[in-house]
Symmetry: C2
Subunit: 224 residues, 2 copies
Amino acid sequence: MSQARMVQIEQNILSKNDQYAAANRNWFAEHGILALNLVSSPGSGKTSLLTRTISDLKSELELSVIEGDQQTANDAERIRETGVKALQINTGKGCHLDAHMVGHALESLHPDDGSVLFIENVGNLVCPAAFDLGEAHKVAILSVTEGEDKPIKYPDMFHAADLILMNKIDLLGYLDFDVEKCIAYAQRVNPGIKVLQVSATTGEGMESWYRWVKATQQLAVIGT
Amino acid sequence: MSQARMVQIEQNILSKNDQYAAANRNWFAEHGILALNLVSSPGSGKTSLLTRTISDLKSELELSVIEGDQQTANDAERIRETGVKALQINTGKGCHLDAHMVGHALESLHPDDGSVLFIENVGNLVCPAAFDLGEAHKVAILSVTEGEDKPIKYPDMFHAADLILMNKIDLLGYLDFDVEKCIAYAQRVNPGIKVLQVSATTGEGMESWYRWVKATQQLAVIGT
């Protein structure tokens, strides 16, 4: 296939995705639902962070989860053990969730009006950056074990995200990871990005993340 | 001057501005200040909307204002009558505020920690779109008297803004203005943009704007 033809096909796919994303976004707005698209490398601790978040917030907010993985329903099972609704999407060979998959998942999951929907994307810092799911924000989870250069190596993702949860900070004492440099790199690709330092293991910093979710949820129920 | 040279100069100016904007943004983050950059055409009712907002919110939030105009200090005087701190920047021939001007204004204005700073930009839907002031959000005020096509005629501005206050909705009965079409145009250039319909004259819809400001201010005091 010629390169021009491949570019054309990619543009058509993204344009189609954007239409589905717009439909999801309208539906979230009508129902006052805050949708957060959680993106990261594999092994950033995304699912552990999410299960802790759910346990700590489920008494205050209505929550549900869409889990994206190439294979297995392990993550959705971990989430369901917390007592909230969760639906697994297996993408098979696909390396990201797309808006059409999420639209179908919504039909089965039925998130409540005024609730928070976490969409845990496939662990991948490249492709999910290009696919709008209709979410209010992409939240990037970056483990300090991955090195501080990730924001400039994967600029599309850190440009697309509004918040970084810098996870596993309980390990900082054992690593050669420069927190300030990582924040500076992130701000180079996205001047307005916010960074919260957290440990899903010890709970350190998680309270700031919960305050962020709660204030953002208040925004989701306002206006169009 | 050659066109290439003009483009080079413009790039240098924007790059310089971005450094000042980053310094402002860091300073806002350190002090937990929410900075909102209010942009619009001339005559959108921006100052009236701002004075009403201040009167209604000043008992709940600490507020201050930077006013940008080519000439006159009339607007800062209108704001000071509400009892909050205001500083006027006259841009002279300049058609927008830049981050360096705002940095200097901060030194004189001394906004309080945890406060909300409104920056009323020069009435202009073009140039202010390109100049980051270090704000958390650009808020575009669009009067329904201006016609619903403004978002697609000034796409840079509506792409850069996170919220539209669709003002003067008390006049909708007298105008041929299609609210839904205007929202669709705005979402075409910026799928995630939020739209609130308000009238600074009658007060209709202003409560949603105030809830947005208060939830957004809560976000400003969280994290880096």
